[in-house]
Symmetry: C2
Subunit: 438 residues, 2 copies
């Protein structure tokens, strides 16, 4: 699934590689600024970063997909309306507060858009707003408006990295992926570490290209690219109220082959999706479940999700414990509750390529147990270290490798297939989320 | 929902109360034995307890419900067949290994039943087998057969407590609840702490009564009693492969009022269900979600489940952090994915009786924030203490109180209602499950 097999020894090595990915396609500029403010619901000092993405010339060729959460954030409500506008000229993103169901939320988003438009000489409806962070709090609109000129002044055409860094919240490191298509390129950045089980869209993801692809084609391609990438991952089964994927073309470079463009787009989405999981909150093992032989692709994906969302299996993986009984439990839970009657008699399950279940029974012995433990240890991103104060935190701020705990589930009854990525459930996840707002 | 409002200062107080609940109804005896063995899949020493429950006279009046997991354990397969038998004379339960999809699993269960029957002078099909513990391992049949005579020799009519203690695995304390109906009684015991989101049946639960209620009536009542009790809880969204609820009448006491009997049965089931959640793996806060005004009772229950299964909300509760944005996220996630079109415009949400959301927006301020923190702290069972070795464990082996984090969700559009219980997501849960088999 990944297009790379990277390893990094430290943050500096990772940063150097990110720099090789980060050149902005022609026609885009990014700028950020960071400022202090006090949230009115919980008055203590906080920091917000504004990330401004501007096109040198507004474009009709843009696509966006949004969360299916029934309580979408105000920027998602505004963003859906923007899809009907003739052109997009800029995107303004804030972190820290997601502006979801906050009193006056839509008006706040529109005010930020209007000020952004004024600074850039655009109409307000040419600006797409995005917010991520705490749900329920209100945006500090005046402080944001005051900070906007600094973001505009910082606009630069060199690298996407400031934007990749600006949009993060609990992410440990920025996520940038690129693909070249002839003389043009696609560059994507993503933010997201928790509340990640996208449903038809995801997190905050921005994909920029200088290749000229018309609006309708872009939109259809984005729908197809999101399926096997962002819609095939889950960190914690929670679906953000702010998930947004945006794809924008500056149209500077003629696109010779649409098929090649779509393949590159899909690969960038898949790589970013895997980056998001690998940097998921508390994730110490990435779990990749390849489901084959299912009656349908939908069931294949649902079974993969059932495995990566099963808390007991996730905990076992965290402990390098090949408790494969919990894996089969998760499959049976989903089928029993949602797909009764599915033929599981030919299920063959593997972990790290080792057969653990076939013909209706487990195939376990002490030698396999040892090999499974070795596979789990080999996929660990970093070992968990008991901290003195009980608050566990990640030991790395870069991705040390791209190995996964490899699960295979072949139902042997059809041609439905899907690959789903998820993470383990760790002390680091609990520490991050039992104390995130404090 | 609970019929009691108990508090305990220590294990001895709790034990003394359990003793007041534990008198066996007429016609039942229980006996246990504990022995050492070596699992063949992971050869290191282990201990197993056999719990034998015997009727003085086989009865036609029994009911049982089983897991809907598509990979049921061998005892569940055998148990389903037992429902067609004319009489039940004994139940034999082992912990430590659940006998799920193990080679020769059904034969192993039947062998244990046959030996039990031989000792008690029954036909083998009058014995119901139950197993709980690690999934995938094989039962140590010969060691079990060798231990059975000791369990039979221990049979006693006094107290159900030995059985309540015998069936546990990771439970911190035994669970016993009783109700009296005229001159008779219903006494129930439950085992279960993890892999708990029952689907039409649950965990291991045994309900004994001396009241004479016919088989068909018992079975219909059990289906109805399980809905608002065991089917309305979730500790970790995982559905055990071994869930079993058994209700047996010895028929010794005439039952004057079936309605009174059913009410008592339902209350015992509800109390046991709450006990199971309160003793859930790593649970430091019990979360009770009362959903009202929903279009249907099914949606009400599903929304309650969505809240108690949302990892981010569960973590916030663990940290005494009233991050109610995550609560509303969970509602929106479920509706967006599974019930699109549901009218949420009148949703009113409360925590601890305090309104936090209405009219489409959050209703938060610093004073409410403080009150919400106080509510969360008041419902904490024990504070989490960072251990020196990083392995968190429960600080109590008794239930200190029966308070809950009280969540109210009124959709304001219909008459569907449900109350669902769940727990928080803690370091204690991760410690328990990242290292359970080791």
């Amino acid at each position: 699934m990944p297009s790379t097999n990277l390893t990094f020894q430290n943050r500096a090595e990772h940063r150097a590689w990110l720099a090789t990915q980060a050149a902005l396609p022609a026609g885009f500029r990014v700028g950020t600024t960071r400022f202090d403010f006090t949230p009115c619901e919980a008055p203590k000092p906080a920091k917000m970063t504004l990330t401004l993405i501007a096109l040198e010339k507004p474009t009709a060729d843009f696509a966006a997909m949004f969360t299916r959460n029934a309580f979408p954030g105000a920027p998602v409500i505004v963003g859906r309306a923007r899809l009907g506008e003739p052109a997009l000229g800029a995107i303004i993103v804030n972190n820290k507060i997601s502006n979801v169901c906050a009193p006056g939320g839509v008006e706040a988003s529109e005010r930020v858009c209007a000020e952004t438009a004024r600074l850039l000489g655009l109409v307000p409806r040419a600006v797409l707003p995005c917010s991520t962070g705490v749900i329920g709090w209100t945006l500090p609109v005046e402080a944001m408006v005051a900070a906007l000129p600094a973001a505009a002044a910082a606009l630069s055409a060199g690298s996407v990295l400031p934007a990749a860094e600006g949009i993060v919240t609990t992410d440990l490191y920025p996520k940038v992926r690129r693909a070249t298509v002839g003389p043009g390129s696609i560059v994507g950045i993503a933010k997201g570490a928790g509340m990640i089980e996208p449903n038809l869209a995801t997190m905050l993801v921005y994909l920029f290209t200088d290749l000229a692809v018309p609006r309708d084609t872009l939109r259809a391609m984005l729908v197809r690219a999101v399926g096997p990438s962002f819609n095939s991952i889950s960190i914690d089964s929670d679906t953000s109220t702010s998930d947004t994927v945006v794809l924008v073309s500056s149209g500077r470079v003629p696109c010779a082959g649409l098929a090649e463009f779509e393949a590159a787009l899909t690969q960038v989405c898949r790589d970013l999706a895997e980056d998001v999981v690998r940097n998921g909150e508390g994730v110490r093992h990435v779990i990749r479940v390849a489901v084959t032989g299912a009656p349908t692709a939908e069931l294949a994906r649902a079974l993969g999700k059932a495995v990566v969302n099963a808390p007991l299996f996730k905990c076992a993986v965290a402990g390098n414990d090949p408790n494969v009984g919990r894996l089969v439990q998760a499959v049976g839970k989903h089928v029993g509750a949602h797909a009764p009657g599915t033929d599981l008699s030919r299920l063959r399950a593997t972990m790290g390529g080792i057969e653990i279940f076939s013909g209706g029974v487990f195939r376990l012995d002490p030698a396999k147990e040892s090999a499974l433990v070795a596979h789990l240890r080999g996929a660990e991103l970093y070992p968990s270290a008991p901290p003195k104060d009980g608050v566990f935190s990640a030991a790395v701020d870069f991705p040390p490798h791209e190995r996964c705990v490899e699960i295979g589930l072949d139902l042997g009854v059809g041609s439905g297939a899907a690959t789903v990525l998820g993470g383990d459930l760790t002390h680091e996840y609990v520490s991050e989320n039992a104390d995130y707002r404090s």
